[in-house]
Subunit: 188 residues, 2 copies
DNA sequence: GTCTATACACAGATAGAC
DNA sequence: GTCTATCTGTGTATAGAC
């Protein structure tokens, strides 16, 4: 089992660092220390390997997200603010959102982990927004689904801006801007 | 000059549709009708071709953005709202933001067009936000730079979500959510 | 300027020994 | 299970004729 996990870990690292196309069998072998035979014994194709790796990444991100929200103190609104302003590595990008533009995502198995993660985050944000509205912390005139989509989009778009500028501050600024707008919604 | 432009147009189309890595010389030749010799006569390397193509794309997007804002009726705040809710092809993605995660962007010449475009949009949004604040349409307690970054990020992130879900509505929802938050800021 | 022919490295995968 | 050797196609470019 050791080699299989080494291979998966190498694949996860390369998918984050370089994306799907640049995750060549050679690169996976070099990073994991496994040979060709070992790689193709455990995973029939490159897509199979990537799909398995991305499933794990989605599970990790979801667990991390839930743990963060559960530990964040204060009201539902406080939790959303804390999530928005959470420290992030803007230059590396989102481990899943990073892949959104790869042609390989035409494969449903590679796309599914992204939907799983984004769907989970959006649902939990919607719940928190509804809770905040019920507690009178937020104007109840807005659409929770749209607001949650906007908040996720700010983070994902912040990664895009930070990577374009090669400057981690862009993501932080975008998140701060979204937080400021949300404050206003809280006072409205 | 005809072949050169044919080649550039093919490159622009392929960069949008498939990204830099998948823009192979072969694909450019097939789409443009030019031969190898012609391609490498006009552009020494693939990066040269992509850099020239992206410069044109940035110029086109900036001209289109300026034209849209100039024609949009109403106050500065109205113009921002109109831009946020502008119809977009969420499934295709942003012609420049789409490339943010490619390793080829380590090349400064390929990254520059993205910065040029994003920088231009952000500056103009900052101006409009300042103008709206001066006219009393917007609370003046916020940071224009952060707010502008957040608005661009919502659009870029909306593209990411739409491509992940293969559903153009995500981008529209994110934009609508951002617009709703901005409304609150206007009333605050 | 544009073409066809050629070159070389690497991606992605298979074969078969151990 | 893991290894090395091998195979085919393609990406990226160069050479040289027209």
């Amino acid at each position: 089992m050791s080699k299989r996990e080494d291979i998966l870990n190498a694949a996860k690292a390369l998918l984050w660092e370089r994306g799907y196309e640049a995750m060549s069998p050679r690169a996976v072998m070099d990073l994991s220390g496994a040979g060709q035979g070992s790689l193709y014994h455990h995973f029939r194709t490159k897509q199979d390997l990537a799909a398995a790796a991305l499933e794990q990444v989605a599970a990790e991100l979801i667990a991390d997200f839930d743990a963060f929200l559960d530990r964040a103190p204060g009201s539902a609104l406080d939790k959303i603010r804390a999530w928005l302003l959470r420290p992030r590595d803007g230059l590396s990008g989102c481990r899943l959102g990073r892949l959104a533009n790869e042609t390989a995502l035409d494969d449903e198995r590679l796309r599914a982990p992204l939907c799983l993660y984004f769907g989970h985050v959006q649902r939990r944000l919607e719940e928190l927004l509804a809770e905040a509205a019920a507690d009178g912390l937020l104007s109840d005139s807005f659409n929770e689904k749209e607001l949650a989509a906007a908040l996720i989009a700010v983070i994902q778009g912040g990664y895009v801006l930070s990577r374009a500028w090669r400057d981690a501050r862009l993501l932080s600024q975008a998140a701060a801007g979204a937080c400021a707008m949300l404050e206003q919604t809280a006072q409205g």
